[in-house]
């Protein structure tokens, strides 16, 4: 068996080159690229409109102010946008498995996941990050927080952690395609649904949803938990301090799960064919 670290660095180098090639050809079509960016910016404002509209009738939701909720939305959604740009091409797996195109991936000397990330990389998806980034920067001034390096670090950790959880979620939902034919809409319910839910304080939800956000898909631990500490926001669920600080680390087991499910899916594909 080849040395795993060697394989990883090989894959990384390949992905880098593939992405560079894809971006170069993407940027050749400037107009189409810009239009798409703009369209994505427009579409993502809907979430902000919803939050602002709702807050025009109340001062707080679950004790959280408008600025605090917008900040939470921004942290989680910037993370989601990062995951979307880097990983969402893995969603093509469903179509490729169905058409047998995935054979092509099996026949090349690189990890299958790395290939899926590189082959159809689209830089223009970065348009999704513009609106939440703007909201993040603007709201940062209005949440009445003294921005110490520690706090900024925690926010960055929250963003990165959210991105990794969503990336893992993209991979897991795409892996399902190895067993069940085309489940794109269901996958969307999980990925986009989790993002929407993560934009609001978790204690607003109860029962299944709350459990889901804290356990199976711990997006709440990525952003909601640390932001309680950073923003000094209400903590009705009583999340302990250590959880607020270490919450962003929740991506570790989730990434491992994603890798496991993907490999399992690959093994299934190779045993049953297309």
């Amino acid at each position: 068996m080849a040395e795993p670290l060697d394989a990883l660095s090989n894959d990384a180098r390949m992905v880098r080159h593939l992405i560079r090639g894809r971006v170069r050809s993407e940027l050749q079509y400037r107009v189409s690229f810009s239009l798409f960016l703009f369209a994505q910016m427009v579409v993502t404002t809907m979430d902000v409109i919803a939050i602002v509209a709702v807050f025009s009738k109340v001062r707080s939701i679950g004790g959280w102010s408008r600025e605090q909720v917008l900040f939470l939305y921004a942290v989680s959604t910037v993370g989601f946008a990062l995951a979307d740009v880097t990983v969402s091409s893995v969603e093509l797996t469903a179509q490729w498995v169905r058409l047998g195109t995935f054979d092509r991936v099996m026949l090349r000397p690189a990890g299958t996941l790395a290939q899926m990330l590189g082959y159809e990389f689209e830089l223009r998806r970065v348009g999704r990050s513009v609106t939440p980034l703007v909201v993040l920067i603007v709201t940062a001034r209005f949440v009445h927080v003294a921005w110490t390096p520690a706090r900024v670090g925690l926010v960055l950790a929250a963003i990165v952690s959210s991105a990794l959880i969503f990336a893992a979620l993209f991979v897991i939902t795409s892996s399902l395609a190895f067993w069940i034919p085309s489940t794109q809409e269901v996958a969307n319910a999980f990925t986009y649904g989790s993002n929407t839910a993560a934009s609001y304080p978790t204690h607003v939800f109860d029962g299944w949803l709350r459990f889901w956000l804290l356990g199976p898909v711990p997006v709440a631990l990525c952003a909601y938990a640390p932001l309680i500490r950073v923003l000094g926001a209400p903590n009705p669920l009583g999340l302990p301090t250590w959880l607020q600080l270490a919450g962003p680390l929740c991506f570790v087991p989730f990434i491992a799960l994603a890798r496991f499910v993907w490999r399992l899916g690959n093994r299934h594909y190779r045993s049953t064919g297309s």
Binding site: V42, M46, I61, P181, Q184, T196
Partner: protein, 265 residues
């Protein structure tokens, strides 16, 4: 007279049947709508807890009910974007549509209506039922309301089909109509009350939206369902906008047909 309607009825029927074959997609869609219904209803409930009073004529039960009915109507009103006509313009297939001996506008209206009917039954009802099991939803207590609601949905679907036809017809003038369709989705979602009930949108904007064409697609039928709207107010605005948008479609269509002739098909 009925014989003249036959091609449209056939178009609607085949469109209905075609939608029904996408069983996997329908189930997945129901799942998505239910999940988002839960998320949005929870948020609204928290809002009401914080507010302690109704928002306009919408109390918490009405607001939660609103969410689930809205989720059911999303695909009925084509809120995710209709692209079929624009695609046909791009490939040139639209020429055959324009030269058919039937009204282009009525033809596509029938197709969209067939799709909408299926969506209403298959994707509209289940999320509401699931929502009713978990949340406290308000059902109409007057039998007539059910009928008026269905009529309102029908009229709203017709208005929505005119809207999407207008947007798609822009493909005759724009090279890439995808961006426009994205914009159209945002405008419809926001203006029709799909994003948040229009009671939540304040000021001049809220006022404009409430009397605009988009409100006829979701806000008004849902208010009928909640028995907040009855009598002429239940169908008059929709009829007015239907006539207005149909007129716009005819004007644009004339321009488009001329363009096709000029370009040689």
């Amino acid at each position: 007279m009925w014989t003249r309607l036959r091609p449209y009825a056939a178009a609607a029927r085949s469109s209905f049947r075609r939608q029904s074959t996408y069983r996997g997609a329908t189930v997945a869609g129901v799942f998505t709508n239910t999940v988002f219904g839960f998320i949005l209803a929870s948020v609204l409930r928290a809002v009401y807890v914080s507010r302690g009073s109704a928002v306009g004529n919408l109390d918490v039960t009405s607001a939660v009910t609103f969410t689930f009915v809205a989720q059911g109507l999303l695909s009925v009103m084509g809120a995710f974007g209709e692209r079929e006509v624009a695609e046909r313009v791009r490939t040139g297939d639209i020429a055959t549509d324009l030269y058919r001996p039937v009204s282009f506008s009525a033809w596509w209206g029938s197709i969209m209506l067939g799709r909408a009917s299926f969506s209403f039954l298959a994707r509209g009802i289940p999320p509401f039922v699931v929502g009713a099991l978990v949340f406290h939803l308000r059902l109409p207590d007057r039998p007539l309301t059910w009928l008026t609601f269905v009529v309102a949905v029908l009229l709203g679907a017709l208005v929505a089909s005119r809207y999407w036809l207008l947007v798609n017809l822009c493909a005759f003038w724009l090279l890439d109509v995808r961006g426009l369709i994205n914009l159209a989705v945002v405008v419809e979602m926001t203006g029709s009350g799909f994003l948040v009930p229009l009671q939540f949108i304040t000021g001049t904007l809220g006022h404009l939206l409430r009397v605009g064409p988009f409100a006829t697609m979701a806000q008004q039928p849902i208010e009928v369902f909640l028995q907040l709207r009855s009598g002429p107010a239940a169908w008059m605005p929709q009829l007015v906008w239907l006539v207005a948008l149909e007129a716009a479609v005819q004007v644009v269509l004339a321009g488009a047909t001329r363009r096709v002739v000029v370009q040689g098909g």
